[in-house]
């Protein structure tokens, strides 16, 4: 897909874009990478000469929602141009080639761009039973990942599957689905979410391409730019939370008034993502704005911390509805019953001792 010796500007010219389009793209890309305005000139001069970075997009255990999200990025010029800019050499879902031709694309890309291509991984890698649960072209997901990651300049884990396992890794995780950061040695940019926000994906790729370096990452490998704050911290319903105005059930008056969804299980207070700032579908809305609590899809193990409409996870082994509070109340009541019984037994068994104590006060003088 495209000649990788062309510069970004040359390839845009070949596609009929004007210089103005190119400059607009550079400006948008610089903004996405978090650069100030004075740095746009540097981006322009870089893109004038920089050749298109080769990209390999691997799909393992996933549902392709990350790809679906990615192609819906809200900045058309960035999305359009970026897909053109990137020399997307191999991606099972979008490429025209199939079979042996497709596999040749992959091996050629690795051979011709050693140490220079960007690897994007969508999906978790199953390890159980020698990885038979996800095989492409007769090879296991793990062996493909190891082979491609070895010579990659940068690795991005798209979505919760690749970042933390997501639903594939939900208990009891029958296939042994594993996040890719646990399998390869180089640093991985985790972009969790099910799917991640399209504009966040674009921005991360842009950052890599424009600056040629990894964005600042937190201790879970997530770009700080987008994952350093909780959905809750920037939620427009936050004032209702602080006031104590909560939706009690989904069809009540409080829901109509747009109160906080905390009591109907919103996981916004424990979820790090940019939904309430960047929003979805060209900034149209995000789940909480549409009246549904956050399900915490960008957090590790969100699938096992259900039920989704309950604020606290259910207590294991006591049925789906019992929370720590149900169990705690039972233990507390049992304790009260226990001490009451003990008090009764004490008065029966120790009446002599009690009598002695009382006798101390009444010397027979």
């Amino acid at each position: 897909m495209g000649d990788s010796t062309q510069s970004i500007w040359q390839s845009m010219q070949a596609k009929g874009y004007s210089r103005r389009d190119f400059l607009q793209f550079c400006g948008a890309a610089a903004a996405m990478a978090g650069l100030e305005r004075s740095a746009v000139g540097q981006v322009v001069s870089a893109f004038d000469v920089k050749s298109k970075p080769a990209v390999v997009w691997l799909h393992f255990q996933e549902c392709t929602c990350c790809s679906e999200s990615f192609i819906r990025a809200s900045h058309p010029i960035v999305a359009d141009v970026l897909l053109d800019v990137l020399s997307l050499n191999y991606t099972e879902t979008l490429q025209a080639a199939s079979g042996f031709q497709a596999e040749k694309c992959l091996t050629d890309t690795i051979k011709n761009n050693k140490g220079k291509y960007v690897l994007l991984v969508e999906g978790a890698v199953p390890l159980n039973d020698d990885g038979v649960y996800c095989m492409i072209g007769g090879k296991t997901a793990e062996s493909i990942l190891q082979e491609v990651a070895k010579d990659a300049a940068a690795v991005i884990a798209w979505g919760s599957c690749a970042s933390n396992g997501c639903v594939q890794a939900a208990k009891p995780n029958p296939t042994g689905a594993t996040p890719i950061s646990k399998l390869i040695s180089q640093p991985v940019i985790n972009v969790p979410g099910c799917p991640p926000i399209a504009d966040v994906m674009m921005a991360v790729v842009t950052h890599l391409v424009v600056l040629g370096q990894l964005p600042a990452l937190d201790n879970l490998g997530r770009p700080k730019e987008f994952y350093s704050r909780r959905v809750h911290d920037t939620c427009y319903r936050r004032a209702n939370y602080d006031a104590g105005l909560f939706v009690e059930s989904f069809d009540d008056e409080n829901a109509r008034k747009g109160y906080c969804l905390y009591k109907v299980g919103c996981k916004g207070p424990v979820t790090y993502n940019a939904c309430s700032v960047v929003k979805w579908n060209e900034g149209t809305s995000y789940p909480i704005q549409s009246g549904h609590g956050c399900i915490g899809c960008s957090e590790a193990g969100f699938w096992d911390n259900g039920p989704l409409y309950q604020h606290l996870p259910s207590f294991p082994g006591f049925g789906i509805e019992s929370t720590a509070d149900t169990v705690g109340t039972a233990v507390g009541l049992a304790t009260i019953a226990g001490v009451a019984a003990h008090a009764v037994v004490t008065n029966v068994r120790k009446h002599k001792v009690i009598a002695e104590v009382h006798a101390d006060d009444q010397p027979e003088i």
């Binding site: 909780r230 004032a239 006031a243 105005l245 996981k267 705690g328 233990v331 003990h342 104590v357």
Partner: protein, 239 residues
């Protein structure tokens, strides 16, 4: 406890009044620690439970007219800070306080302490023995259980600060940010923080009951000692 541990002997001979000796067991810092700890813990449990299951005692049409839930959380955080520094002070006092406050009480190090645990279980819990040891300070079993409550203090403080760290830039909560990933995200941290609350509820029930139990069975001012610091011990008869 130690040298002052005596057993309640048989009733004195008729015509011979019983003499009691005062012992200053709980020094003022220990009593203050206990009072602050009790107030903070009850405050933390009530506000913590409300944070988990909020109620709406006031009505307002618009959010700006109220700060009820924010206030509940604020009280929780204030209590938590008092509680942590109060606990840190108590650890310090375990090294400089009197022998009843000494840190060594809380670990069954000596054979005598371990024997006392067995005796307390027999006399007070199972009640297969009528007369058990009566120690001036903590009995060894109670002290050892307090050690576990100290561990629970630590769990609550660490998970609490870990949860608080995302809304704070001060150094103390920030020290615990690393807890969040190893406990499987904030959902996990919050879950354990919530679950341990019930340990304290259970502990308070048993602790208050047993204080009254000992006061009733031994008649030596166990309850008043935590206010005034004095306990009373029967003088050994010279017969």
């Amino acid at each position: 406890m130690k040298a002052n541990a005596v057993s309640a002997g048989p009733a004195p001979a008729p015509g011979h009044p019983v003499d009691y000796r005062r012992i200053y067991v709980w020094e003022l810092p220990v009593r203050l620690y206990h009072g602050i700890n009790a107030v903070c813990l009850v405050g933390l449990i009530i506000t913590g439970y409300l944070i988990g299951a909020p109620i709406r005692p006031f009505y307002a049409a618009e959010a700006y007219q109220l700060y009820w839930f924010g206030g509940v959380r604020f009280v929780h955080f204030i209590c938590a800070f008092f509680y942590v520094f109060n606990f840190a002070f108590r650890i310090y006092w375990g090294f400089v306080g009197n022998k009843y406050a000494d840190w060594k009480n809380f670990f069954p190090i000596t054979r005598r302490q371990r024997q006392e645990i067995v005796d307390v279980v027999k006399a007070d819990v199972l009640q297969v023995k009528l007369h058990g040891p009566i120690s001036a300070g903590h009995n060894s079993l109670a002290a050892f259980i307090y050690f576990f409550t100290f561990l629970a203090f630590l769990v609550q403080a660490i998970t609490g600060f870990a949860l608080y760290s995302s809304m704070s830039s001060s150094w103390l909560p920030r020290m615990f940010t690393w807890i969040v990933p190893i406990m499987g995200g904030e959902m996990g941290v919050r879950y354990w923080h919530h679950l341990f609350m019930w340990f304290f509820v259970t502990f308070i029930i048993v602790h208050v009951y047993l204080s009254f139990y000992h006061d009733y069975i031994e008649g030596r001012g166990t309850i008043s000692s935590i206010v005034g610091g004095w306990k009373f011990e029967r003088e050994k008869s010279d017969q």
